[in-house]
Protein backbone atom coordinates (compact mmCIF):
# COMPACT_ATOMS: atom_id res chain seq x y z
CA UNK A 1 0.00 0.00 0.00
CA UNK A 2 2.84 2.35 0.92
CA UNK A 3 4.58 1.58 -2.35
CA UNK A 4 1.45 2.46 -4.34
CA UNK A 5 1.11 5.68 -2.35
CA UNK A 6 4.69 6.64 -3.12
CA UNK A 7 4.23 5.97 -6.87
CA UNK A 8 1.03 8.04 -6.93
CA UNK A 9 2.78 10.85 -5.06
CA UNK A 10 5.74 10.73 -7.46
CA UNK A 11 3.49 10.94 -10.51
CA UNK A 12 1.56 13.79 -8.90
CA UNK A 13 4.74 15.76 -8.15
CA UNK A 14 6.15 15.25 -11.66
CA UNK A 15 2.76 16.21 -13.09
CA UNK A 16 2.58 19.39 -11.01
CA UNK A 17 6.11 20.43 -11.98
CA UNK A 18 5.26 19.74 -15.62
CA UNK A 19 2.01 21.75 -15.47
CA UNK A 20 3.80 24.65 -13.82
CA UNK A 21 6.51 24.73 -16.46
CA UNK A 22 4.11 23.99 -19.34
CA UNK A 23 2.01 26.95 -18.30
CA UNK A 24 5.03 29.25 -18.47
CA UNK A 25 6.59 27.89 -21.66
CA UNK A 26 3.57 26.69 -23.69
CA UNK A 27 4.54 23.05 -23.55
CA UNK A 28 1.01 21.67 -23.63
CA UNK A 29 0.89 18.29 -25.36
CA UNK A 30 -2.27 19.03 -27.35
CA UNK A 31 -1.12 22.00 -29.38
CA UNK A 32 -1.05 21.46 -33.13
CA UNK A 33 2.04 21.37 -35.30
CA UNK A 34 2.26 24.44 -37.53
CA UNK A 35 1.84 22.28 -40.64
CA UNK A 36 -1.55 21.03 -39.48
CA UNK A 37 -3.02 24.52 -39.11
CA UNK A 38 -5.52 25.32 -41.84
CA UNK A 39 -7.99 28.17 -42.24
CA UNK A 40 -11.64 27.53 -43.09
CA UNK A 41 -12.86 28.37 -46.58
CA UNK A 42 -14.42 31.84 -46.60
CA UNK A 43 -15.29 34.08 -49.54
CA UNK A 44 -13.13 37.03 -50.54
CA UNK A 45 -15.46 39.96 -51.11
CA UNK A 46 -14.68 43.05 -53.21
CA UNK A 47 -16.02 45.92 -51.12
CA UNK A 48 -14.74 48.90 -53.10
CA UNK A 49 -13.47 49.70 -56.58
CA UNK A 50 -11.97 53.14 -57.02
CA UNK A 51 -10.16 55.02 -59.70
CA UNK A 52 -6.63 56.09 -58.78
CA UNK A 53 -3.77 57.89 -60.56
CA UNK A 54 -0.62 56.74 -58.78
CA UNK A 55 2.63 56.86 -60.72
CA UNK A 56 5.27 54.81 -58.90
CA UNK A 57 8.73 55.72 -60.11
CA UNK A 58 11.04 54.11 -57.53
CA UNK A 59 10.86 50.96 -55.42
CA UNK A 60 12.98 50.09 -52.42
CA UNK A 61 13.25 46.52 -51.13
CA UNK A 62 14.77 45.51 -47.82
CA UNK A 63 14.93 42.72 -45.26
CA UNK A 64 14.41 44.08 -41.75
CA UNK A 65 14.62 42.44 -38.34
CA UNK A 66 12.67 43.87 -35.41
CA UNK A 67 12.79 42.44 -31.89
CA UNK A 68 10.86 43.32 -28.78
CA UNK A 69 10.83 42.22 -25.14
CA UNK A 70 8.28 42.64 -22.40
CA UNK A 71 7.70 41.53 -18.85
CA UNK A 72 6.22 38.05 -18.76
CA UNK A 73 2.78 37.18 -17.36
CA UNK A 74 4.25 33.93 -16.02
CA UNK A 75 5.29 33.66 -12.38
CA UNK A 76 8.01 31.11 -13.17
CA UNK A 77 9.57 33.22 -15.93
CA UNK A 78 9.56 36.29 -13.70
CA UNK A 79 11.16 34.18 -10.97
CA UNK A 80 13.94 33.21 -13.40
CA UNK A 81 14.25 36.86 -14.58
CA UNK A 82 13.18 35.83 -18.06
CA UNK A 83 11.16 38.04 -20.40
CA UNK A 84 8.70 37.41 -23.23
CA UNK A 85 10.39 38.01 -26.57
CA UNK A 86 9.40 38.29 -30.18
CA UNK A 87 11.45 38.74 -33.32
CA UNK A 88 9.97 39.48 -36.75
CA UNK A 89 11.85 39.25 -40.04
CA UNK A 90 10.13 41.25 -42.75
CA UNK A 91 10.79 41.65 -46.44
CA UNK A 92 9.23 44.95 -47.37
CA UNK A 93 8.73 47.13 -50.41
CA UNK A 94 8.50 50.91 -50.31
CA UNK A 95 6.97 52.51 -53.38
CA UNK A 96 7.47 56.20 -54.07
CA UNK A 97 6.27 58.49 -56.82
CA UNK A 98 3.54 60.94 -57.77
CA UNK A 99 -0.11 60.89 -56.91
CA UNK A 100 -1.72 62.61 -59.88
CA UNK A 101 -4.98 62.97 -57.93
CA UNK A 102 -3.20 65.97 -56.43
CA UNK A 103 -2.44 67.48 -59.84
CA UNK A 104 -3.90 70.99 -59.99
CA UNK A 105 -6.16 72.00 -62.89
CA UNK A 106 -3.66 74.63 -64.04
CA UNK A 107 -0.66 72.29 -63.63
CA UNK A 108 -0.14 72.00 -67.38
CA UNK A 109 0.63 75.03 -69.62
CA UNK A 110 1.52 75.00 -73.31
CA UNK A 111 3.62 77.59 -75.09
CA UNK A 112 4.29 76.59 -78.71
CA UNK A 113 6.29 73.35 -78.65
CA UNK A 114 7.14 73.77 -74.99
CA UNK A 115 5.18 72.11 -72.22
CA UNK A 116 5.32 73.46 -68.65
CA UNK A 117 4.23 70.93 -66.00
CA UNK A 118 3.89 71.64 -62.31
CA UNK A 119 4.23 68.23 -60.72
CA UNK A 120 2.84 67.28 -57.30
CA UNK A 121 5.49 66.47 -54.68
CA UNK A 122 7.06 63.00 -54.76
CA UNK A 123 5.90 60.96 -51.80
CA UNK A 124 6.04 57.49 -50.33
CA UNK A 125 2.92 55.97 -51.87
CA UNK A 126 2.86 52.51 -50.29
CA UNK A 127 4.61 50.41 -47.69
CA UNK A 128 4.10 46.77 -48.54
CA UNK A 129 4.91 44.08 -46.00
CA UNK A 130 2.25 41.40 -46.36
CA UNK A 131 1.85 38.39 -44.05
CA UNK A 132 3.70 36.21 -46.58
CA UNK A 133 6.61 38.68 -46.48
CA UNK A 134 6.89 38.45 -42.71
CA UNK A 135 8.17 35.63 -40.55
CA UNK A 136 7.85 35.27 -36.78
CA UNK A 137 11.38 34.10 -36.05
CA UNK A 138 11.12 34.06 -32.23
CA UNK A 139 7.77 33.77 -30.45
CA UNK A 140 8.51 33.36 -26.77
CA UNK A 141 5.77 34.09 -24.26
CA UNK A 142 2.35 35.62 -24.66
CA UNK A 143 2.15 38.13 -27.52
CA UNK A 144 -1.39 39.37 -28.11
CA UNK A 145 -2.39 40.57 -31.57
CA UNK A 146 -2.24 44.29 -30.70
CA UNK A 147 1.33 43.96 -29.37
CA UNK A 148 2.39 42.14 -32.56
CA UNK A 149 0.71 44.91 -34.56
CA UNK A 150 2.86 47.46 -32.70
CA UNK A 151 6.04 45.46 -33.49
CA UNK A 152 4.93 45.23 -37.12
CA UNK A 153 4.40 48.98 -37.15
CA UNK A 154 8.01 49.43 -35.93
CA UNK A 155 9.14 47.15 -38.75
CA UNK A 156 7.31 49.27 -41.34
CA UNK A 157 8.71 52.49 -39.87
CA UNK A 158 12.23 51.02 -40.08
CA UNK A 159 11.61 50.21 -43.75
CA UNK A 160 10.43 53.74 -44.54
CA UNK A 161 13.33 55.29 -42.60
CA UNK A 162 15.87 53.17 -44.49
CA UNK A 163 14.23 53.98 -47.81
CA UNK A 164 14.45 57.70 -47.05
CA UNK A 165 18.09 57.31 -45.97
CA UNK A 166 18.74 55.72 -49.38
CA UNK A 167 17.25 58.85 -51.00
CA UNK A 168 14.14 57.19 -52.40
CA UNK A 169 12.42 60.57 -52.83
CA UNK A 170 15.26 62.03 -54.92
CA UNK A 171 15.55 58.84 -56.99
CA UNK A 172 11.79 58.70 -57.56
CA UNK A 173 11.79 62.35 -58.60
CA UNK A 174 14.68 61.88 -61.05
CA UNK A 175 13.24 58.66 -62.51
CA UNK A 176 9.73 60.16 -62.76
CA UNK A 177 10.85 63.30 -64.55
CA UNK A 178 12.90 61.29 -67.06
CA UNK A 179 9.94 59.04 -67.85
CA UNK A 180 7.44 61.88 -68.09
CA UNK A 181 9.77 63.83 -70.34
CA UNK A 182 10.07 60.83 -72.66
CA UNK A 183 6.27 60.47 -72.64
CA UNK A 184 5.51 64.14 -73.36
CA UNK A 185 8.17 64.31 -76.06
CA UNK A 186 6.46 61.39 -77.78
CA UNK A 187 3.26 63.48 -77.68
CA UNK A 188 4.90 66.09 -79.90
CA UNK A 189 6.53 68.55 -77.51
CA UNK A 190 10.18 69.42 -78.10
CA UNK A 191 10.81 70.89 -74.66
CA UNK A 192 9.31 69.82 -71.35
CA UNK A 193 9.85 72.02 -68.31
CA UNK A 194 8.99 70.66 -64.85
CA UNK A 195 8.51 72.77 -61.79
Amino acid sequence: MKRIMSIVLSVAIVGMVYLFVADAYKLWPFNPTLESLKIDETPNVVTEIRSIKKFTTACFYEDVTVSEEKASDSFLKNLLSQRDRICLIGRGTIRAGYDFENLADDAVRISGDTLFVRLPPVQVLDTICNPQDCEVFIDDGNWPHDRVQAVHSDLQNALVDDARKCDIIEKASKSGRAQLEKLFRSFGFTTVVFS
Binding site: N44, I52, C59, D63, K165, L183
Partner: protein
Amino acid sequence: MKIRKPYRLACLAAVMAVVCLMPMLNSCQKALPTQSDSAADRVQLMTATGELATVEYTVQKIIKAKDCTWWKVGEKRVLFKCNAYLEAGVDMTAYDDSKTVIDSSAMAITVTLPKVKLMSFRMPFEEIRLVESEATGFRYEFSAEERQLLLQQGEQSIRADVDSGKYAILDDAERNTRIFFERMLSRLGYKSVTIKFEK
Protein backbone atom coordinates in the same frame (compact mmCIF):
# COMPACT_ATOMS: atom_id res chain seq x y z
CA MET B 1 17.22 14.29 8.56
CA LYS B 2 16.16 10.84 7.44
CA ILE B 3 13.49 10.72 4.70
CA ARG B 4 10.99 7.92 5.13
CA LYS B 5 11.36 5.18 2.53
CA PRO B 6 7.95 5.61 0.78
CA TYR B 7 8.71 9.26 0.08
CA ARG B 8 12.23 8.72 -1.28
CA LEU B 9 10.90 7.88 -4.76
CA ALA B 10 8.69 10.95 -4.74
CA CYS B 11 11.57 13.25 -3.78
CA LEU B 12 13.76 11.65 -6.41
CA ALA B 13 11.07 12.17 -9.05
CA ALA B 14 10.67 15.83 -8.12
CA VAL B 15 14.42 16.46 -8.24
CA MET B 16 14.72 14.61 -11.59
CA ALA B 17 11.84 16.64 -13.09
CA VAL B 18 13.40 19.95 -12.08
CA VAL B 19 16.91 18.91 -13.18
CA CYS B 20 15.65 17.76 -16.59
CA LEU B 21 13.68 20.94 -17.15
CA MET B 22 16.36 23.45 -16.12
CA PRO B 23 18.54 23.18 -19.27
CA MET B 24 15.39 23.59 -21.35
CA LEU B 25 14.42 26.75 -19.45
CA ASN B 26 17.89 28.22 -19.77
CA SER B 27 17.99 27.59 -23.52
CA CYS B 28 14.83 29.65 -23.93
CA GLN B 29 16.55 32.99 -23.35
CA LYS B 30 19.22 33.51 -25.94
CA ALA B 31 20.08 37.01 -27.11
CA LEU B 32 17.61 38.47 -29.58
CA PRO B 33 18.83 39.17 -33.11
CA THR B 34 19.26 42.90 -33.64
CA GLN B 35 19.02 45.00 -36.76
CA SER B 36 22.48 46.01 -37.92
CA ASP B 37 23.10 49.76 -37.90
CA SER B 38 25.27 49.52 -40.97
CA ALA B 39 23.24 49.72 -44.18
CA ALA B 40 25.97 47.72 -45.96
CA ASP B 41 25.13 44.65 -43.83
CA ARG B 42 21.50 44.60 -44.88
CA VAL B 43 19.84 43.27 -48.00
CA GLN B 44 18.66 46.35 -49.84
CA LEU B 45 17.71 47.11 -53.42
CA MET B 46 16.50 50.29 -55.10
CA THR B 47 15.01 50.17 -58.58
CA ALA B 48 13.55 52.78 -60.91
CA THR B 49 10.07 51.88 -62.09
CA GLY B 50 7.30 53.59 -63.97
CA GLU B 51 4.07 51.98 -62.89
CA LEU B 52 0.93 53.98 -63.46
CA ALA B 53 -1.81 52.42 -61.33
CA THR B 54 -5.31 53.45 -62.36
CA VAL B 55 -7.61 51.19 -60.37
CA GLU B 56 -7.66 49.93 -56.81
CA TYR B 57 -9.78 47.04 -55.54
CA THR B 58 -10.44 46.60 -51.85
CA VAL B 59 -11.01 42.94 -50.94
CA GLN B 60 -12.33 41.99 -47.52
CA LYS B 61 -11.76 38.57 -46.00
CA ILE B 62 -12.74 36.76 -42.86
CA ILE B 63 -9.96 34.44 -41.78
CA LYS B 64 -11.12 31.83 -39.31
CA ALA B 65 -9.60 28.67 -37.94
CA LYS B 66 -10.31 26.22 -35.18
CA ASP B 67 -8.43 23.31 -33.74
CA CYS B 68 -10.73 20.90 -31.95
CA THR B 69 -9.88 17.29 -32.78
CA TRP B 70 -11.70 14.83 -30.47
CA TRP B 71 -8.55 13.46 -28.83
CA LYS B 72 -7.27 16.87 -27.78
CA VAL B 73 -8.40 18.22 -24.43
CA GLY B 74 -10.18 21.46 -25.19
CA GLU B 75 -10.23 23.54 -28.35
CA LYS B 76 -9.05 26.85 -29.66
CA ARG B 77 -10.41 29.13 -32.32
CA VAL B 78 -9.60 32.47 -33.88
CA LEU B 79 -11.32 34.90 -36.24
CA PHE B 80 -9.73 37.81 -38.11
CA LYS B 81 -11.18 40.44 -40.40
CA CYS B 82 -8.77 41.96 -42.90
CA ASN B 83 -8.55 44.08 -46.02
CA ALA B 84 -6.35 43.65 -49.07
CA TYR B 85 -5.72 46.28 -51.72
CA LEU B 86 -4.98 45.38 -55.32
CA GLU B 87 -3.72 47.96 -57.77
CA ALA B 88 -3.54 47.55 -61.54
CA GLY B 89 -2.41 49.73 -64.41
CA VAL B 90 0.32 50.05 -67.04
CA ASP B 91 4.09 49.75 -66.75
CA MET B 92 5.30 52.89 -68.54
CA THR B 93 8.91 51.65 -68.63
CA ALA B 94 7.69 49.30 -71.38
CA TYR B 95 6.10 52.20 -73.33
CA ASP B 96 7.34 52.23 -76.92
CA ASP B 97 7.15 55.83 -78.19
CA SER B 98 7.82 54.73 -81.78
CA LYS B 99 4.29 53.29 -81.85
CA THR B 100 2.72 56.70 -81.15
CA VAL B 101 1.32 58.27 -84.32
CA ILE B 102 0.56 62.01 -84.54
CA ASP B 103 -1.41 63.74 -87.27
CA SER B 104 -0.63 67.42 -86.62
CA SER B 105 -2.96 68.76 -89.27
CA ALA B 106 -6.00 67.02 -87.79
CA MET B 107 -4.66 67.32 -84.22
CA ALA B 108 -5.11 63.56 -83.88
CA ILE B 109 -2.96 61.16 -81.90
CA THR B 110 -2.88 57.38 -81.55
CA VAL B 111 -1.01 56.05 -78.51
CA THR B 112 -0.18 52.38 -77.97
CA LEU B 113 0.34 51.58 -74.31
CA PRO B 114 1.78 48.42 -72.72
CA LYS B 115 -0.61 45.72 -71.62
CA VAL B 116 -2.30 46.38 -68.27
CA LYS B 117 -1.20 44.25 -65.36
CA LEU B 118 -1.50 43.87 -61.60
CA MET B 119 0.91 46.32 -60.00
CA SER B 120 0.72 45.63 -56.30
CA PHE B 121 -0.93 43.56 -53.63
CA ARG B 122 -1.09 45.07 -50.17
CA MET B 123 -2.55 43.51 -47.01
CA PRO B 124 -1.77 46.08 -44.31
CA PHE B 125 -1.11 44.53 -40.92
CA GLU B 126 -2.62 47.55 -39.14
CA GLU B 127 -5.97 46.75 -40.80
CA ILE B 128 -6.01 43.13 -39.65
CA ARG B 129 -8.52 43.06 -36.82
CA LEU B 130 -8.65 40.19 -34.34
CA VAL B 131 -12.37 39.71 -33.77
CA GLU B 132 -12.28 36.61 -31.57
CA SER B 133 -9.69 34.34 -30.04
CA GLU B 134 -10.39 31.75 -27.37
CA ALA B 135 -9.00 28.54 -25.96
CA THR B 136 -10.49 25.98 -23.60
CA GLY B 137 -9.18 23.01 -21.61
CA PHE B 138 -5.47 22.25 -21.93
CA ARG B 139 -5.13 24.60 -24.89
CA TYR B 140 -3.47 27.94 -25.44
CA GLU B 141 -4.79 30.69 -27.63
CA PHE B 142 -3.11 30.80 -31.04
CA SER B 143 0.45 32.07 -30.69
CA ALA B 144 1.90 34.93 -32.75
CA GLU B 145 3.62 32.41 -35.03
CA GLU B 146 0.44 30.40 -35.53
CA ARG B 147 -1.61 33.55 -36.19
CA GLN B 148 0.98 34.67 -38.75
CA LEU B 149 0.68 31.31 -40.51
CA LEU B 150 -3.11 31.66 -40.67
CA LEU B 151 -2.83 35.19 -42.08
CA GLN B 152 -0.40 33.92 -44.71
CA GLN B 153 -3.00 31.36 -45.76
CA GLY B 154 -5.60 34.16 -45.95
CA GLU B 155 -3.30 36.14 -48.24
CA GLN B 156 -2.74 33.04 -50.38
CA SER B 157 -6.50 32.60 -50.72
CA ILE B 158 -6.96 36.18 -52.05
CA ARG B 159 -3.98 35.84 -54.40
CA ALA B 160 -5.45 32.59 -55.75
CA ASP B 161 -8.69 34.43 -56.60
CA VAL B 162 -6.70 37.16 -58.37
CA ASP B 163 -4.63 34.64 -60.33
CA SER B 164 -7.74 32.73 -61.38
CA GLY B 165 -9.11 35.91 -62.96
CA LYS B 166 -12.11 36.08 -60.66
CA TYR B 167 -11.96 39.87 -60.51
CA ALA B 168 -12.35 42.20 -63.49
CA ILE B 169 -9.49 44.36 -62.23
CA LEU B 170 -7.56 44.29 -65.51
CA ASP B 171 -10.63 45.39 -67.52
CA ASP B 172 -11.21 48.25 -65.08
CA ALA B 173 -7.53 49.21 -65.24
CA GLU B 174 -7.67 49.34 -69.05
CA ARG B 175 -10.80 51.50 -68.99
CA ASN B 176 -9.41 53.92 -66.38
CA THR B 177 -6.03 54.16 -68.14
CA ARG B 178 -7.79 54.96 -71.39
CA ILE B 179 -9.83 57.71 -69.67
CA PHE B 180 -6.67 59.10 -67.98
CA PHE B 181 -4.73 59.42 -71.26
CA GLU B 182 -7.72 60.69 -73.24
CA ARG B 183 -8.26 63.51 -70.74
CA MET B 184 -4.56 64.35 -70.54
CA LEU B 185 -4.10 64.46 -74.32
CA SER B 186 -7.29 66.54 -74.73
CA ARG B 187 -5.81 69.04 -72.28
CA LEU B 188 -2.64 69.05 -74.35
CA GLY B 189 -4.68 70.22 -77.36
CA TYR B 190 -5.46 67.04 -79.27
CA LYS B 191 -8.96 66.89 -80.76
CA SER B 192 -8.91 63.21 -81.61
CA VAL B 193 -7.32 60.71 -79.25
CA THR B 194 -7.09 56.96 -79.77
CA ILE B 195 -5.65 54.76 -77.01
CA LYS B 196 -4.64 51.19 -77.82
CA PHE B 197 -3.07 48.52 -75.67
CA GLU B 198 -0.46 46.02 -76.69
CA LYS B 199 -1.63 42.43 -76.79
